[in-house]
Amino acid sequence: MSALDTAAAVRAGERSAVDILDEHLARIARRDGEIHAFNLVTEGLARSQAESVDAAVAEGRDPGPLAGVPVAVKDNTCTRGIPTTCSSRILEGWLPPYDATVIERLGSAGAIIIGKTNLDEFAMGSSTENSAFGPSRNPHDVTKVPGGSSGGSAAAVAAGFAPLAIGSDTGGSVRQPASLCGVVGVKPTYGVVSRYGLVAFASSLDQIGPFATSIADAAVLLEVIGGHDPRDSTSIPEPAPSLLDVLGRGVDGMRVGVITELAGGPGGVEGIAPDVVARTRQAVAALEAAGARVSEISVPSAILGLSAYYLIAPAEASSNLSRYDGVRYGLRVDAPTTGEMNIASRSAGFGDEVKRRIMLGTYALSAGYYDAFYGKALKVRTLIMRDFAAAYEQVDVLVSPTSPTTAFGFGDKTADPMAMYVNDVCTIPSNLSGHPAISIPFGVGDDGMPIGVQILGPAQSEPTIFTVATVLEDVAAKGGAQ
């Protein structure tokens, strides 16, 4: 049952939030041992939230648009008094003294926080293999990764553990796992969802986004968590976009561009699988059939995004992760001096990928290298923004694959960091530009695993990209993606 239907039934008093919770808890009990979507199932909190939703309904009060809907929350989102680990040893057992803004908003909307989901440590990865607490598995094939870094959230929704989940997307960390797990994933415009309480990875790129099994469910979740938050200086001072009422507008007359470089075109990115390109082209054809005017659009700098991203994100991360020093919270490994204690704690508490990115970022910012690396990457960011601005003069939305391949096997890409980083090549440009993008399931690949198609639009074009996604969702539902 969809989140919208669940909430409607609970608000109407037809279903009890506690019963719905129990059904989901039963599913988790049955299968999460295998999937490992959750670091922690927050049964106690969920039950008390469900009970107050039921009480509100009994008293004739409206518990809100997500009444009784279980939501799985990525474990880098602060929950007061509930462990928030970022899947890192360095934060194991840490109990935040405050709730993230999205947690507050979910609570006020009647949602039920059912658990904290697994991720690549500090959201650094594309497979969830970098979790200190073991990887999550893809519900469609448990020998495959669910993608990452929000792999636990994607897997939770795909496995039916919760109709909705929250993830964070710094370079594709919502969209890529959504694609690999066959669910909807959204990276909103930078500044639409408050980052307050999201443990920072790369502050100028991080954005919280929804997972759902349908566009409409993703829309209601974004309406709930979006909108201005005075606690985040980078929050856009406007209400959340209105999405539910525009989903059915259709794409007649809309201008749709295919990003040539990401869809098998000349001079494009290597390594995008033919079955993925084929599904992307099929989706574009479906939009054309639905009345859209389709063209090929070149975004030349998109290819440079990967290099720019893997300098900018680690640079910001190296600074954001300095605070894990063993002084105020988290892991401390004792040593004779504070400096040595910092080193011992960080060396024991961080995993390899986190250390690698801290090293990379520290190097890119350090004296003598700033101009060649970090400074250069910021200029490439300008080029990407210019290219997108030019593209959006010609079209309303752009289409590309979400991930270059379908879900891969455990260990397939862990030996060479660059092989893993290339997974983000289609998703990274939107993080650098701050623009919104959505990944929607559109058929399967040669291996039978889900493929996601990505719709991109200019800043604050969520209503438009959700509309386009709804058309593709209908096509796929009618068997048009086979």
Binding site: W94, P237, I303, R328, Y329, T362, Y363, S433
Partner: protein, 100 residues
């Protein structure tokens, strides 16, 4: 092995980042970082002298908070999370070296 980054630079960067790397880790990181920097050669060679940098995707400016006191949080809740608290403060081993 690439000449993009040397072992000594890796050791220096680790010190800046307060990480301790064993000899094997230094070797592995030197090679892996070199591969990433190798890939970054595509932007390193770009002529972007006239291109301004973009640090942030948002055009917002002047976001201010009013100077009004808000309740602080209960120190017990925070100190309970400290690896070592004493006299309502955070206890650390001796600090060598002065504040820069």
């Amino acid at each position: 092995m690439s000449d993009r980054i040397t072992r000594d630079e890796v050791v220096h960067v680790a010190r800046l980042a307060r990480l301790e790397l064993g000899p094997d880790e230094i070797d592995a990181f030197t090679e892996q970082l070199a591969r990433v920097l190798e890939h970054a050669a595509d932007i390193e060679s770009l002529d972007v002298d006239d291109v301004p940098p973009t640090s942030h995707p948002l055009p917002l400016v002047n976001v201010f908070r009013t100077d009004e006191v808000r309740a602080s949080i209960d120190r017990r809740e925070v100190l309970a999370q400290a690896p070592w608290a004493e006299s309502d403060m955070f206890r650390v081993p001796p600090v060598l070296g002065e504040e820069p």
